[in-house]
Symmetry: C2
Subunit: 705 residues, 2 copies
């Protein structure tokens, strides 16, 4: 696949940086048109600013209710009014109630009667609100304590001793293992499972708020690789007995409790438990009433690591069976199990990966999911039945996302491709019905001088594996000239840069740089996502080493191009990409003339336990790997110009990374440059992001142009 | 005075940066030869590595004892040996004992008998050791508590509750008002006065140590302008009664207790007390036995500020009279008072300042001091008798420092001038005796291609005042070329840059830059030291404003020079000079193309109470002044390239200054550059200082050359 998208015309306009970078004044006017759809049970709704529409299977729309209706009813009930209907929720498939947040209150309006109903007041400053449609309660946290708001307006406390040291109802394990929240309602709303994390034994990283009158300490608990980690337990609150029990999982020291799931009857909790070395996972069933361990359903082991990311999901039509997603055959696939822990079937199989499970079609008893089975760069929608028969549900091109109806018989398919800005189709997931087009967005870049983009593949440094690259030619490219080239790199796990979505997933800054006269290049090296376990684990215990070798293959390709000036090659990346940039600048100092590294990892010993030890093990057990990948020892190799940028309050790659590197360079008599965004965390947002990209561009213009 | 020093020869060698910057590998080999003299009563001694010599009035030397002697005696006594004799002390004028520190012990050796004697063990980790020759005790502090080491080896605690919040025996008021220590022995050794500072109510600035395994908080008490300040009291410990009393000075809130002095009979303590507004000082006498206030001897007021810097000194020949140094007539002069507080005489007078009082000549009943009476750029040695008759004691040129013998009849005069590297003379302070030359150091730069330097004066922006500048032409200057020019600036009080010492006091970096092809310029604007009160106070309540106007006069002069490229003018300064640099870059953005600001003040509200409020009053009482001088509001004016550098643990100009400016620039969409030296405080030392000056030079080479 080496497709070329060439939209060039001298009379079209040039981009401003505000057009291209999120946070720019004109950026959102250049995002392709969008429309917001949501399912009310099996009825599709379209959410607009001033009204909510019912959408028929043929795409015909009728007004369900208007903003004016809702606000009239809210006024009568003495409530504050809404400004738009885009954040409305339709969680009651059996009721004509629309739910939304009003200040710190969950309010529902019945659009047939106009009745306004409160689902309980949430405390000021609350976070992590988790509404349960089955019982109308909302779990929420304030200052690390867990509360329940009742529909009658009462609030009950589920914990009293919450603090920075002892955290209730919040996401744990630093959001690794697919954990994104800390509360889990049982299916019928009787029980609430929640995380409790004791991090009193974890070192405190001293972040500093310099915006206060006098700079203030902002303590943050940050467990660094090889050091003492937090201890997590799982509580279960019973809304009938009003009692909390804790799962009897044994000593939580150096263990991960992940992927909490409820049995449909609410009597069992299933959890995937992982050792600190992350090479042994167990699916464990607990009695939700007593907290006692019922059974270990099965184990999963890997010599490098297993990484459970998805809770088990019970089949809607059979409470004795569930699906489990695993990479145990080398790619992420769906397996069918029974509640005895017996594997009944591998439903998907092949040298490709399942990207997401969208849900179930209860009529055809099939699973709707997305995968890159068609092409490593694509994401398409499929269904698979219980016999493993797979059916493609989309047009087989580009990058698709899916919203499934309650029964799973219809879906909203939102997609783009290198030549499609955004289409939205309403499509049946069964039978012979055709998609109905809901939106065809115009390409907002059509009036601009978009540089030519090429996507292709190279052989990785192992000589075998295909890795994909994206090459962007300078705007108004002249093949007789020689241009400087800049590589944008990420290179870490759980991410990719090149795909078959709109404009090949290009970043706005790449376009901006192409317009400044740079050849822009990007390559998803081994270690990046969606290419299977071996592709990812090639980097194990020595992050950066193999990734750099693949990037150097990209450089060799770049240098083979007659219009690339081999003496003017730069590199830029953020986070893992900042680590890659700094690694490349100090490992291949003759290759790269200029680099800009943002929020970099400098030494994995400063990174956190969960992510870091998965790939690197601990500094104690893998001293060679930590030494080999540390950039502190390579600071003396720096020859080119390297600008390192960090968020002043980065709590992901803490400032200690960058500042230790700067110290190492000073001690080694090398001369990096530095910038910081005080008050920002790991990424710059809003106008800071514009400033950042002007700063990065200026650096390349100063030293590479 | 526009003297020119031109040492140029194409066959001489060029400097390396290591030759020119302290911390450089070869720097100390290019410091003019030195020799170390000390007085043992009225006997001059020369301290060498391997021996101590007696020096006669005619300069003839004899060995007093050798390192081998001392070490033989130390070995016999079972003590560790010394490596050199340079740190020996001769505090007992009446005994043949040499004193030195041996690990944490004060040890004396009698060089006639070889007897080795201990003056007490000091605790591990001690600081602020203060030995009393009269009683042989040493006061010292450990972890903010005050201790006494006795000659018999015992150690007693004078405080038990010392902490970061409550500090005993240390310097207070952030070393302002001439305070450099926290313990004050009475003349005969019976009593010890000491400072106690309660700073529990002062905000804690969170410094961070990024060199630890996980970055660690290093809390520092830092009272910012306008905010709650510390409370100081003065204790007096009696070595006979073993009791401590505190001076009954009243509520210490918002008051400064400065310049502690003892009466010769040890019965009284004199202290200069100042209000927080610093415009009213009182000399107060206390009874050292009871702590009761005895008398307020006199007041001194000034509409802007008074700044007492010198304790009163009693005349050795008359216990009823003392001298007091004050700028009350507009210049720092010496006044004679009696103990009733009556002014008996103004001993010195004129439009020049006393720089230091070296001591007394008890035979002629005169005071030996230095002043710039001969020329504002010079420091010469004089004596004044009790009738105000002044006698010059040196050659009338250059910059002299003086060490006076016990009786004051002889002095060691160490001096340099633009053409004298270092001379040391032994000179009588009375009679017709001639100086005896002890050392004539060769000029170590003679073999180098030293650029041409010119010193002269301009009219300040007030049109009246003379201000002095130093101009350095590029090495191998070619008058037909046009060169970029860089201004080095400090500009704040208590400092100057240009004087008549060796090479006009030039900084090594200026020479380095001249060698890179820059015209270097420096001007001591109004506000700088040694020019009198009106000159300094021109800046009151709006630091930077008048100073910048004077600097712009310097720029106008620079631009008038045919060999200066007016479009390539840069500026660099540190601390107050960093404030000046940033102020100039943002106030005169069309004038300065490139700047490098180090450890800058950005807003005086982030600076400390004592220094800051003296010149600026408080943010509450002078909001216009603070607003006008704050660089946060001027961040949007930045046009040229500005590099801001700070020590990562700067506890003088805390990092909040620089980081707030960077944040303001980001918000205003301007683009400064940044660098930091992690772990360093206000100034970079050792090899960091070399790195720093390479970094600064690189920045000018990148953008100004």
């Amino acid at each position: 696949m080496a497709v070329s998208t060439n939209v060039m015309a001298q009379d079209r306009q040039l981009f401003t940086i505000d057009d291209l970078i999120p946070g720019g004044k004109t950026y959102y006017s250049l995002v392709p048109e969008n429309a917001y759809y949501t399912w009310w049970g099996n009825q599709l709704l379209k959410q607009e600013v001033e009204r909510v529409m019912k959408v028929d299977a043929d795409g015909k729309m009728d007004v369900l209710f208007s903003l004016a209706d809702i606000n009239r009813w809210l006024r009568l009930a003495g409530k504050r009014e809404l400004r738009h209907l885009l954040y409305t929720k339709f969680v009651f498939a059996d009721k004509t109630e629309v739910l939304f947040d009003l200040n710190d209150e969950h309010v529902a309006v019945d659009w047939t009667s106009g009745e306004v109903k409160s689902y309980g007041a949430i405390k000021d400053g609350s976070e992590n609100a988790d509404f349960c449609a089955a019982n109308g309660m909302t779990a929420f946290t304030v200052a690390h304590n867990l509360y329940l708001a009742h529909p009658d307006g009462k609030v009950s406390s589920l914990s009293l001793d919450g603090s920075l040291d002892l955290v209730y109802g919040e996401s744990v394990h630093r959001n690794e293992f697919g954990i994104e929240k800390g509360t889990f309602w049982s299916p019928k709303g009787r029980r609430l499972a929640f995380y409790r994390m004791d991090q009193s034994m974890v070192t405190t990283y001293p972040q500093v708020d310099v915006s206060a009158r006098v700079a203030e300490l902002v303590p943050d608990k940050y467990p660094m690789a090889g050091m003492t980690s937090h201890k997590v337990t799982v509580g279960v609150y019973d809304t009938q007995t009003l009692r909390t029990i804790y799962l009897d999982a044994g000593d939580p020291t150096d263990r991960y409790f992940t992927n909490i799931a409820w049995s449909p009857d609410e009597e069992s909790i299933y959890m995937i438990e992982l050792n600190r070395d992350q090479n042994h996972a167990q699916l464990v069933q607990y009695d939700a009433t007593t907290g006692k361990k019922v059974a270990v359903l099965f184990d999963e082991r890997n010599s490098k690591y297993v990484e459970p990311m998805h809770p088990i999901q019970f089949l809607p039509w059979d409470d004795t069976k569930f699906i489990y997603q695993s990479r145990k055959d080398g790619y992420l696939h769906i397996y069918l199990y029974n509640t005895k822990g017996e594997q009944l079937a591998q439903l998907t199989k092949g040298e490709w990966e399942v990207m997401s499970v969208a849900g179930f079609n209860t009529k055809t008893k099939s699973i709707v999911y997305t995968s890159n089975a068609i092409h490593p760069l694509q994401q398409n929608i499929f269904s698979v039945d219980m016999r493993g028969r797979i059916t493609g549900l989309d047009n087989g091109e580009g990058w698709h996302n899916v919203q499934l109806s309650q029964s799973g018989s219809m879906m909203v398919d939102t997609y783009s491709s290198p030549t499609v800005a955004r289409n939205i189709d309403l499509t049946p997931t069964q039978g012979k019905g055709k998609p109905v087009r809901l939106l065809t967005a115009a390409e907002p870049w059509d009036r601009f001088r978009v540089p030519e983009m090429k996507v292709g593949s190279l052989k990785a440094a192992d000589g075998v594996t295909d890795v994909y690259y994206r090459l962007i030619l300078p705007t108004d490219f002249d093949p007789t000239k020689r241009y400087p080239a800049v590589i944008y790199v990420y290179g870490g796990p759980h991410a990719h840069n090149i795909d078959a979505s709109r404009h090949w997933g290009v970043r706005g800054w790449d376009i901006w740089m192409a317009q400044q006269g740079y050849v822009m290049f990007c390559l998803d090296n081994r270690g990046s996502e969606h290419r299977g376990l071996a592709f990812e684990q090639a980097t194990f215990r020595q992050l950066g080493v193999e990734e750099m070798k693949d990037q150097i293959k990209g450089v060799e390709y770049l240098k083979s191009l007659p219009y690339v000036d081999a003496d003017r090659i730069g590199v830029h990346g953020w986070s893992f990409g900042g680590f890659m940039t700094t690694s490349l600048m100090t490992t291949y100092p003759e290759t790269f003339k200029v680099g800009v590294a943002g929020g970099p990892v400098i030494d994995w010993k400063y990174y956190e336990v969960m992510y870091g030890e998965r790939y690197m093990d601990t500094p104690q057990s893998n001293p060679e790997g930590y030494a080999k990948t540390s950039l502190l020892g390579k600071a003396g190799n720096l020859k080119g110009r390297l600008l390192v940028i960090y968020g002043g309050n980065d709590n992901t790659c803490v400032p200690q990374h960058t500042l230790s590197f700067i110290r190492a360079c000073i001690d080694a008599d090398t001369y990096p440059d530095l910038f910081t965004y005080p008050g920002d965390e790991h990424n710059m947002m809003g106008t800071d992001r514009i400033h950042l990209h002007n700063k990065i561009t200026q650096y390349f213009n100063d030293y590479l142009k």
